[in-house]
Amino acid sequence: MSVRSKVVSMRDAIARYVHDGDTVVIEGFTHLICFAAGHEIIRQQRRNLTLCRLTPDLIYDQMIAAGCARKLVFSWAGNPGAGSLHAFRRAAEGKGQPLELEEYSHFGMVARLSAGAARLPFWTLRNYMGTDLSAANPQIRSVSCPYTGETLATVPALNPDLTIVHAQRADADGNAQIWGLLGVQKEAAFASRHVIVVVEELVDESVIRADPNRTAIPGLIVDAVVVEPWGAHPSYAQGYYDRDNQFYVGWERISRDPAALDRYLAEFVFGVENRAEYVEKNGGLERLRAAERICAGVNYGF
């Protein structure tokens, strides 16, 4: 039985599902960060977005620099292994465009999305005692456990308008399979009103059905599927391509200088029509192609 295909272009997916003022999550912890979607949002010049991610990473640094963001909700805003996110820092240090910050720890962000996915108003966690985080963020509160009387920290549900998840593969209905680091993508997708799945490869439904334990996001919560090979570069896709660590290290120099950052955006984001042109402009990315480490399958028989 075949279902209606949800496959659309990145341009159409962003035009349809991202509106000025929306709360948007592009998740993926180091792994599978959908730069292709972020770049399209920049190209379509969306404004006043509330951008949420555990680790804003280079993609939100670029979106902040491009003027897309009104507010950032996050838990660790650095350039992993390489330095700072300078567009973010300029804003946070009062030297750039104003940017509202709402800050948690990773556990807090995970808990917010878990509550959102379960459609609960908040989530409890044993955390934040002795820290200044709850004083800095009045959204971090507490509740007395009705069973033990213990005081537990709470964080409010996060229910974004849109979550964008990059996956290795999906079928045309959006049943998406992810392997390698799973981050908080599943919770983010379930918490969201709309979901765009972006994939390295579009596969037949039979491929999904052959290995159902690998499906992180079921098609029934997905609105659109975009096929975008290399769409996570300079982050990575396990089994497809490695992280472009050179790019991450080089971002320090680019993002430190607002003019250099503008030139980067002009050339690699506004200066290309789509992802394929981006890949070509980067001289192809074959140097990052993953080596093979194939695992044995399992028996799903009964």
Partner: protein
């Protein structure tokens, strides 16, 4: 023959020795990552490395550049979601050692990785907590690694990101924290240890060829010394070989 080595190499080697073989370690970003992988390559081959990215029992074939490196996945025992990491492993009490770095560390081992200066109008905006706040609260003990410099070791941190042994005058027990907190702070000049009676960090070791005054001059409070400072072996030839040739040949972590 006396080997020459840098303070950063010494600090990393000493930090690695803090880990016992077979322990379950939650590995933080930066130097902790390097130290944990050095420990695994030397005296602690059965160390269970857990990264907040969800890799459990990671055996990276190259030094992970970030804590989400693909090499953490290949060959690991388990890859789980971050909800599992924080709820079912960390909050569940399964982490024996938390390994953290920090921009500022104070008299009671409170760590600041959030801001220098005022929170709303910071002089320097740092990355923030990541998983550090909850690691500092839940790990059964925490080892902290940081270069010893005056601005990095104030009497009190500008912002408590990860709570130490006493925060705002209250002890960990009073605050209801499950773990023991930062029992050791490994620096590039010596080792600080928490005084079990009041939680204050005191000097417990200085490295070879380092004068005590170099330590005390770089700490923002009047640092007490333990009555007997224990000796610390310099990095071995093997430790230096691993650090320089195998683990960090590009000097990503060992710069300076």
């Amino acid at each position: 023959m006396e080997l020459s080595y840098t303070p950063a190499e010494m600090m990393t080697a000493v930090a690695a020795r803090e880990l016992r073989d077979g322990e379950v370690v939650f590995v933080g970003i930066g130097l902790p990552n390097l130290a944990c992988n050095l420990a695994r390559a030397t005296h602690a081959p059965n160390l269970v490395l857990i990264y907040e990215s969800g890799a459990v029992g990671a055996v990276p074939e190259r030094l992970p550049v970030s804590i989400g490196d693909p090499a953490l996945v290949t060959g690991s025992l388990m890859v789980c979601s971050m909800a599992d990491v924080f709820q079912s492993l960390l909050q569940n009490g399964r982490i024996e050692v938390g390994f953290l770095g920090g921009a500022q560390i104070d008299r009671y081992g409170n760590i600041n990785t959030t801001v220098v200066g005022d929170y709303v109008r910071p002089k320097v905006r740092l990355p923030g907590s990541g998983g550090a706040a909850e690691i500092a609260i839940h790990a059964r003990r925490t080892v902290v690694i940081a270069r010893l410099e005056r601005r990095g070791f104030p009497e009190a941190v500008d912002f408590v990101t990860s709570p130490g042994l006493r925060s705002k005058g209250r002890t960990r027990r009073e605050l209801g924290m499950p773990g023991a907190g930062p029992t050791r702070v490994v620096t590039d000049k010596g080792i600080l240890e928490a005084d079990p009676t009041d939680g204050e960090l005191v000097l417990s070791a200085v490295y070879p060829n380092v004068d005590i005054s170099e330590v005390t001059a770089n700490v923002g409070w009047s640092l007490r010394c333990k009555s007997r400072l224990h000796p610390v072996e310099p990095p071995s030839e093997r430790e230096l070989y691993l650090l320089r040739e195998v683990l960090d040949p590009q000097r990503l972590y060992l710069k300076g």
